[in-house]
Symmetry: C2
Subunit: 132 residues, 2 copies
């Protein structure tokens, strides 16, 4: 049975030219340190990214960011090639993910991009086309 650290041991042999148990322990401690620097609950980050990763929802947020104002649900209609229902579902998912806000005005609903949404789009824009 292959242990969890069998290969790590060999890697350290390559990197250090030697490898005793304390070398393995030290490296494992270092790796655990990286692990601990990760937010305990990733679900909100993962959800924000997932929600922004499909075309309909992504486009909605880009439109809101470009508009620099809240848009009414019906303003998305001529710009997106999906049903009203799909737009509504998309906005609902975006709101739950903290990427858009909603404001009611009579029968109309206005949505706006949150700073979180804008920060993510900005990160993409600033790094688009980077080879690496």
């Amino acid at each position: 049975m292959a242990s969890q650290t069998e290969r790590l041991e060999r890697l350290l042999g390559t990197q250090l030219g030697r490898c005793c148990q304390s070398d393995v322990d030290d490296r494992l401690a270092t790796l655990n340190g990286y692990q601990e620097s990760i937010p305990a609950d990733l679900s909100s980050d993962l959800n924000a990214l997932k929600v922004l990763s499909t075309e309909t929802r992504h486009r909605i947020v880009r439109l809101l960011a470009a508009a620099e104002r809240d848009l009414c649900v019906c303003e998305f209609k001529p710009l997106l090639d999906v049903s009203d229902s799909a737009i509504s579902h998309a906005l609902s998912d975006l709101r739950e993910a903290g990427l858009v806000t909603r404001r009611k005005d009579g029968q109309w609903r206005y949505y706006g991009a949150t700073p979180r949404a804008e920060a993510i789009l900005d990160a993409l824009d600033r790094t688009r086309g980077d080879g690496e």
Copy 2:
């Protein structure tokens, strides 16, 4: 049959207190302006977000960012609760999405986070917990 702009026309009636054809045309032109400011090809952005939106791949990138150095494939093993194959698939997806780089050293492979990956994580970190 409901036209694409039927509701928009009524919205403008509400917003402007009137609505003739030129009002509709103006608004449509404005909306099309937003549309045009969106990158023509979203697929690379969408893919980057999708790839970062599941736990295994996201965790890999967070580990690389925390490490501030390239990590060997075998170093992920004790930190992730999935098979070697899943780690390899994940790294391959991340590389294709431009989120990690790969460096070969003998039989070992070292991966590192790209500026694009770091920018996205940073956007998430800076805005985590924003109510809106």
